[in-house]
Subunit: 560 residues, 2 copies
């Protein structure tokens, strides 16, 4: 590849979308532009009608996504000052499972006057949690029937996924359900919008809709058992899913013209934001443990073999990179647990500065010096206990305990929780070497990165790249374009050619490691007893609280 070529990646996040122009010869991030969604997360009232939404609702407006395409792409092109014909490919990634009902021609129902006032016609954002009762029912029936597919998902389906959201729609608004030709991932929808071709991809289908190439969807009689009458699970989903990097098509003429791009730009099938960080961070081989560290942690591993192991979010063939089984695991409360402490208990500095202050003060403490250990279950435990009803704990408190010691203990608990996830992979034959970390908290907390190195005994490397998911999306765009066009034949070649340098690396501290081994032994014992053998204690506390709230509500007392 000698001639100059660029690819565009668009990363659709929760509050905004970011477009990146990537130089395919050097891997340099040439230009970036962010466009915030005008309506952001719609979680209080429905636009226009003002209808109040339930507590667990979270919607988005597809117009906001289209605005990212129309604004951010011309903006990066202008900033980059690159000849438009040198842009050869485009890839997108999106939050997931963000899904919307669409007409047969791809028009979102919520954009049509006859459905606009119906909340269920709108795209449901990944963190829309109103389908929890459906997820509970689906899990219960899957466990009863000992459904084989469940073991690919660590034994539990999330309420955030495709079928809970689809069945919620089916139960709550049959009119919208019947009017929808499809119920589609936003990432697949935006590709359809860009190319005119409906090309759903395997990543979301595998991780969020329980599909596998070998077994297809969960069996119809399973759904029928859980929800009699809901008998055609593929009706709104289809059964054809394309591998990542597949060319979905090229830009529609009218869009290409508006954006100032040639119609020849190849568009890859859609991607999911966390998974696309793997190529984005320069990872294309097994044995590397990628952590996306933000509000929560998403751990991603690829391996040539399929292993069923407990407590993962999912294992999907070709789900992350074609040719590998992709494993996802995670910790639920990370950045938000630290933010909780700073905001709620951090005193007057709880304004962002408070965070930096605690980070500095905690960094001055020695490993093992706090006498504290925490269980990082402020929002339940995903990996490896898969128990949303667990809650957090701090142990070892004395009259001498200082706030910075508690902050450090919380931070250490994230690293201990992570060590447990890594051990789980190793115990099931997936050997991991280096840790690669990216995401906001990986940048913001060198202390957390060092403690992860010290507790895991592994080097933690931070890639020198600021737009990891968009990079990954752009690389799939370059694969869709192909080597002949100046792109790449496959994603591994693309990654190798553009791999970002290392911004920082944290080596395990040989003195800290044995001390953390001792603290981790305590953590691990508490993990087993409070997380398994005695898990009913923590669950019981939650139960009492829930019962109490229900009782108060019955009596008409003010709720929480």
């Amino acid at each position: 590849m000698s001639r100059q070529a660029y690819a565009l990646g668009i990363d659709f996040g929760t509050e905004s979308g970011r477009a990146l122009l990537l130089d395919l010869r050097t891997g340099a991030e040439v230009a970036v532009s962010e466009t915030r969604y005008r309506s952001g997360v719609i979680d209080r009232v429905l636009p226009e009608t003002g209808e109040e939404l339930g507590d667990d609702w979270a919607l988005q407006d597809p117009d906001d996504w289209m605005a990212v395409v129309e604004t951010a792409i011309p903006s990066v092109l202008a900033a980059a000052d690159v000849p438009a014909e040198e842009v050869i490919g485009l890839g997108v990634d999106f939050t997931s499972c963000t899904v919307l009902p669409v007409r047969g021609d791809g028009v979102p129902l919520c954009t049509l006057p006859e459905w606009r006032a119906r909340p269920h016609a709108w795209p449901k954002l990944w963190k829309h949690h109103a389908a929890q009762p459906v997820a509970d029912r689906l899990n219960e029936v899957a466990a009863e029937r000992n459904e084989e597919f469940l073991s690919r998902y660590g034994g539990r389906l999330s309420s955030e996924w495709y079928f809970p959201k689809l069945i919620e729609l089916w139960l709550a608004d049959r009119g919208v359900y019947d009017a929808a030709a499809g119920f589609i991932e936003a990432t697949d929808w935006i590709v359809w919008h860009l190319t005119g071709n409906e090309r759903r991809q395997r990543c979301a289908a595998g991780y969020k809709a329980c599909w596998s190439e070998r077994d297809g969807l969960p069996p119809t009689d399973y759904f029928e058992a859980a929800y009699p009458g809901f008998s055609r699970p593929a009706e709104k989903l289809g059964t054809t899913f394309f591998p990542l990097g597949t060319r979905a098509g090229t830009l529609r003429a009218e869009i290409a013209a508006r954006l100032g791009l040639p119609e020849t730009v190849a568009v890859a099938v859609g991607n999911v934001d966390s998974f696309v960080s793997v190529p984005g961070a320069g990872v294309e081989k097994p044995g590397i443990y990628l952590m996306v560290v933000g509000t929560s942690i998403c751990d991603l591993v690829i391996d040539p073999d399929e292993v069923r192991l407990p407590g993962i979010t999912g294992v999907v063939a070709d789900g992350i990179l074609p040719g590998f089984y992709g494993y996802e695991a995670g910790q639920v409360a990370v950045g938000d647990m630290l933010a909780w402490f700073v905001d709620e208990l951090g005193g007057p500095g709880g304004d962002g500065d408070g965070y930096a202050e605690f980070e500095r003060a905690a960094a001055r403490l020695e490993p093992g010096a706090t006498g504290l250990v925490a269980l990082d279950w402020w929002n339940g435990n995903r990996s490896i206990l898969a128990d949303a009803d667990l809650t957090g704990a701090i142990l070892g408190l004395t009259l001498q305990t200082r706030p910075d010691e508690i902050y450090r203990a919380l931070l250490e608990s994230i690293a201990f929780g992570n060590r447990r996830v890594m051990e789980n992979f190793a115990e099931h034959g997936l050997e991991l070497g280096e840790v690669v970390a990216c995401g906001g908290v990986a940048e913001k907390s060198p202390l957390l990165m060092q403690v992860i190195a010290d507790t895991s005994g592994r080097r933690v490397r931070i890639p020198a790249a600021s737009e990891i998911p968009a990079r990954g999306a752009a690389l799939f765009g370059a694969v869709a374009a192909g080597a002949e066009a100046g792109g790449f034949d496959d994603i591994a070649t693309a990654v190798a050619a553009t791999r970002p340098a290392t911004a920082r690396a944290y080596e395990p501290d040989r003195e800290a490691m044995p001390i953390y081994d001792r603290v981790y032994a305590v953590y691990r014992s508490l993990y087993e007893s409070l997380g398994r053998a005695q898990a009913d204690l923590l669950r019981g506390l939650k139960r009492i609280r829930v019962d109490r709230a229900a009782q108060s509500a019955e009596k008409g007392e003010p709720g929480e």
Copy 2:
């Protein structure tokens, strides 16, 4: 008793002494005066020499105690405007075990120029903890030898007690040890100072020096086994101890003259501050559970029978009221745990106001609504686990947890810890009815009192008296004076005649009780697992911290 009579009580606390004039016909508190100790708690440097004291040291100056006598008594007499001849008795109570080495004539060694520069010549305050290694050794040997006396103390001697402090002196400064004719409780010393008679009492001897009327002191060969060469345990203590209420003598002429009191004023043998709260609070019968609620909680029970039960501080014949076995139990971190939370984690309001704010906010929450449970072991657990190495815990934390919920959980943990102590008494045949509570936190936290009522299922009554220990001391003074002089023949009669009214009573809330039963079941399970079966986890955390500090100290790193 028809003629007017008054008694004086002096309560020697940690930072000050308070004198009370009590009307023996009505039980009214006629006048009170407080005198702060000029040197307070001497815990940094020795006065005059400026020698630095160790971390765990806490001394006092006997001149400060004498200043209370000389200042506070004239002050209450002046304020009361009562004829001096109507004052018939005087009693004192003191923190314990606060002990000092004295010459044969009762002069404290630390007041003599030749010993003044020697730290061990000074009175060691109850909370002087530098004798912990001695206490550890004494406990170890007592357990090995299966010493019978140990079971009177719930299986563990405290470092605060008489023999740890005496042996610390014997080990560290043989010169002072040999020069001391006696090593005496401050309460017995002040009575000696007032009357010229050395009359040590049974309360401190029993609770702090492991003496009993039946068995005497622990055997000489026990001490010899623990500390070869330390072979005469009674040498500085004596073997004669007088029942509470015994007349030690009358005021020395020169003191009487200086104070403006008749020489006929009868002085009772000394008392210990927590125990004397029993008569002070109007309790003279078995079946009542008296809680002195302050920085820590001291629980006092009297019963005609002797029962050996685990986890109490001690059971002593005649130790609280003559004719009964007196039981002491307790919780170590109470007011100071709440203060820790307000000061360290309570945000900008942590200035005293913060406390009231949290109290109000926590009172608005419903029982069971926090989803939290805490183990109140911020300073170890006294009753009933007797394990100083346990540490505190908060469980059930979520991203929604608010500071006022944590505050309430800490407060509830005090009540749960108390319920466990009460259950322990009941399990061993000591049936308890009403709870009577006094002390600073009992006044300051109606919420804690209500929660204790709700968790124990018992009425909690607060006596309408502001000077409970000084009342008790004054009543013993009135008994020392005797009925003929206008006092009383025995303490039961004295208590019955002067019993304070009820200021407030908290009835158990029948709706809250079953909810707390559910939370308590969780608390109790955690108590058993983290406090017993898995106690090595919490102990291990402490061990790691201690090892780490030692390692840092070796390397010359800055300590904590």
